[in-house]
Symmetry: C2
Subunit: 133 residues, 2 copies
């Protein structure tokens, strides 16, 4: 049996590390093997080094966005586990449909993929406000 | 050892079923357990029935878009396997960063998750052309 609470905790730890710009914790969270990340609006980043570099760059930005995650749902298929959630970005009228994939390695749920996709209603909304300015 | 060619073939079969609006084949491709799908701009759809309904609705549209997939890369972590690729949507200046997740079930690679995220350069591009019209 897969412990869904442990997966939800790993998912929450990812957002906490993001919001605290905690690079050491983000490094611990990501697995060592094949990993990939698709930040909103960007092409895929693959490989541990490139994925961690992408977070380091985000953490260095002078005004960092924070992310709230809502409606977490754990999905399980064989030994694959992923969390679906809605991300709300602070300071932007933007919601994203996100997936976070985890692999159990040496007793720990490590992240192997993150992908966040803008939800269209919010794209349309931010477009309209852009046009009004 | 995971047979990457078999995963690439499963990935190609998904796009072929999509482009041919082959609902029976799409039903065979998707697994029976936990599955999810995030179409571009939409919230997550979960569960086999809802995911297949979403494709049925797309297939019924009078003018259906076709998708070319490029730059397929197979990623493997434990028994989890996913393909990263770039999708080019016909009739739209739109490229998407997509992931397709597969689980080996009874000797077949079945799809457990699909997610396609617009790449910002193309969002910006389609916005500009919209503004010019």
């Amino acid at each position: 049996m897969i412990d869904k609470d442990a997966i939800l905790a790993a998912n929450a730890a990812f957002y906490q590390a993001f919001n605290q710009a905690d690079f050491a914790e983000m490094s611990r969270i990501w697995a060592d093997g094949d990993v990939s990340c698709i930040h909103p609006g960007w092409p895929a980043v693959t490989g541990r080094q490139a994925v961690l570099d992408s977070f380091r760059n985000i953490f260095r930005a002078p005004e960092r966005e924070k992310i709230e995650h809502h409606d977490d749902v754990v999905m399980v298929s064989g030994s694959a586990s992923w969390v679906l959630n809605v991300e709300i970005i602070s300071g932007a009228a933007l919601a994203l449909a996100a997936t976070n994939w985890f692999q159990r390695i040496d007793g720990e749920w490590r992240m192997i993929h993150h992908q966040a996709s803008p939800i269209a209603a919010t794209i349309a909304c931010s477009l309209s406000s852009e046009r009004l300015n």
